[in-house]
Point group: C2
Chain length 454, copies 2
């Protein structure tokens, strides 16, 4: 029945069950839902029903629910449940999600929960919480099934059956030796086809790809993406297996990283979404804006350095916004190519030199095209050949410089270990403003005698 | 032995095997590699060895290799192999990868390959090739294992064993009825724990999440991400199961979409990477640049409309680049928030109104902050209170307008069905240039009598 109901129909039914206190019916209905749909349902449920809803469902179901929710709803549920029932739910949660949740709480609160947890779970969680959030250690879970190389397929299958409910990842079985070092991996597909008496060591794949526990989360995501893995093992310096990271966590990392790239490219500040408060969003955006304000004033002082030129040729001002804008635009275009390219390419000297020369040629081509175009426009609009030549030649030069600045600045940042995406579009635009004004007024001043009086 | 060798050591060994014509040793070595490492090895192998290498390895290995390579290397291999051996390799490839490869060839060439393929394979491929590339149909494979609801766990396990080598996805088993309609799904974990005599219909999860064959690839990726799936089934209007899409293909879509967002936001044109030729890159970038050039000239004509004001107050020019730049910057920041927010939020009237009012408040806060700052700077730098007030008040107004433009323009585009990311940073910047100049010179003209002579 549940199979074909819409979200709204489900919600109506759930509220009905809550009002009529039909525990079993409610629990059965929820068992038919995916955790994501379950969480959507909870988000749609009026707040006055939350308490009853939580008392009616099983700890297992609460664990599923809480793992899908955002932080503030998680905290609300923990408060509703009280410490004892919360700890029961926490025992059922995936370790990586639980560690993330606990990391958001105060030290006192964390200790309170750890104290009532089973000792083994509490130790597992504490060891996970010791890794920095954006590393492999911070992403991994230590709930996984491992086996010794000298065991048989039958033993492996039996072990899997025992742990199937407990383990998050049931796609690969990692093989370790007596020192707990990772020596191989067997896929479930291989186990399925294999003879029950075969030994794991004869079956396993021994060139295992693993990530180091200190590896950056971006490297983890890249490994999973490149190898099309469902999960990747995490090891320490001694190659001891510490945990696994599953593909769904890698996807979350990729989405986060892509969003961060866009945030940086637009200098929009970290973590602003539709729900961020105006005052918070403003304070995240202001540092960049104030920096750019001062850089923008540099442009102003450049112009004031050419006050004499401007006084004599007022017509020059009309083309100023266009030239400054175009230089910023071409810089932003080059920047985007570099920022995305760095993710997928290995950056060596050869690649860098090749890229810079490519962009130089791009700058030449678009410089010639746009330069000739604006020369004709300036000539026909203001009826002065000299002005046309000055504007056209300036645009030609600024487009080359702007293109190269948009390429070289992010590459230099990458070289010195700074994320090149911080060379945001606005920053490149503002820096290119300065270059373009210097070139434009420089060229104009050279031709001043021919231009004056326009 | 292979387990701990570096990429370079492997390459040296491979070349040695090729030179000494040690087929078996080469094949055994390659069997120990992941397809990604295998492909990296092939990319590193000097071209003179390619032909021998390809003749030494098995069709199975070539199929693994070809699926990991980029298009031009794929074509090179097909040419080296000749039509007959190519078709043998194609029979071993995953259907979705094969369909993508064939789609790149000429119609004649496609027909040639289809003719020599097994009839069943050829039909499967042709049906896959009929779906548009960026839809669920274009992403899916039709190699998967299905089962009827009234069969038992034992029958399911037997079927899986038979097809394990053939099926790309061995994580879920999809359940269909007599009309081939999708009615349920069972995970391998569930099969593993279940009693062999149980019926599939008693075990299966019947609220199956599926995507429609015409669904956009972004929707497919979102579904897999939200539900943490390893694969998602694809159905038609009648809910008939047509194929499956695996998580690795969804990851490729996400990376592509994020890159496209950045390309659009920076108006950098489609598909420019480190290897694009300069002339191609230029022609992809020029349309945007030329459009922006003309919009930039509008700014120029606005200035020329205020020629009298400018003649009287030359000092106004010094603050012009800063004011225009800041308006563009705040617009770009707002744009980034909207573009990323649209991906993760449901956009209804309430959300839109809430967002616009939030950004209005953001505009007010940053407008007041930066306005006061620049007022003080202008006052102390140029020693004129009126100029300070004019510049400060103008920046206050332009920041509010710029913030709202960066919010409302992409929302309007989204409303009329245009991808809001085309409202790129450069476009918003250039449009905001126009707004800012109108406001700045407008305000200045109002205070002209107090300003003149500065």
């Amino acid at each position: 029945m549940v199979a074909n109901m819409t979200e709204d129909q489900l919600l109506v039914l759930v509220i009905k069950y809550i009002k009529e206190a039909k525990r079993t019916a409610l629990q059965q209905l929820l068992d038919e839902l995916h955790p994501y749909d379950f969480a959507q349902l909870y988000r749609g449920l009026p707040e006055k029903h939350h308490h009853k809803f939580l008392t009616f469902i099983t700890p297992d179901q609460i664990a599923d629910l809480i793992q899908e929710l955002e932080y503030d709803l998680q905290i609300e549920i923990l408060q509703q449940l009280g410490i004892e029932r919360s700890s029961k739910v926490m025992n059922l949660m995936d370790n990586d999600d639980l560690a993330d949740l606990l990391n958001e709480l105060s030290v006192d609160k964390i200790q309170e929960f750890l104290d009532v947890m089973k000792k083994e779970d509490s130790q597992n969680i504490q060891s996970l919480m010791s890794y920095p959030a954006e590393t492999a250690g911070g992403l991994m879970t230590n709930q996984f099934v491992w086996i010794n190389a000298d065991q048989t397929v039958r033993q492996a299958v039996d072990k899997l059956k025992t742990y199937a409910g407990f383990s998050e990842n049931i796609y690969y079985l990692y093989v370790i030796n007596d020192e707990k070092k990772l020596v191989g991996v067997v896929s479930y597909r291989d186990l399925l086809i294999a003879d029950l008496h075969e030994k794991i060591e004869d079956l396993m794949f021994n060139r295992v790809v693993a990530v180091h526990v200190d590896a950056d989360q971006e490297e983890v995501a890249q490994t999973i993406e490149r190898y099309d893995f469902i999960a990747v093992p995490v090891v320490n310096d001694e190659n001891v297996l510490l945990g696994i990271i599953t593909v769904d966590d890698a996807i979350d990392v990729m989405i986060k990283e892509a969003t961060e790239d866009i945030e940086k490219l637009s200098a929009s500040g970290k973590d602003i979404d539709f729900n961020t408060k105006a005052i918070t969003a403003s304070f995240r955006r202001l540092p960049w804006l104030i920096l750019l304000l001062f850089i923008g004033l540099v442009s102003g002082s450049i112009i004031s350095g050419f006050e004499d030129t401007l006084d004599q040729v007022v017509a020059l001002i009309f083309f100023m916004p266009m030239i400054a804008g175009m230089t910023g635009n071409t810089g932003t275009q080059s920047l985007a190519v570099v920022v995305r390219g760095i993710i997928t390419n290995d950056i060596d000297r050869k690649t860098v030199i090749k890229l810079i020369f490519r962009e130089l040629r791009v700058g030449l081509i678009i410089g010639i095209t746009c330069g000739i175009l604006i020369m004709l426009i300036a000539y026909f609009w203001r009826e002065s050949l000299v002005l046309g030549l000055v504007v056209g030649f300036s645009l030609f030069l600024t487009l080359i410089v702007g293109t190269l600045a948009g390429t070289i600045i992010p590459l230099l940042l990458y070289r010195i270990g700074v994320d090149p995406a911080v060379a945001s579009g606005p920053l490149i635009t503002t820096i290119n403003d300065i270059f373009s004004l210097m070139i434009y007024f420089g060229v104009a001043t050279m031709f001043l005698t021919q231009l004056s009086g326009l």
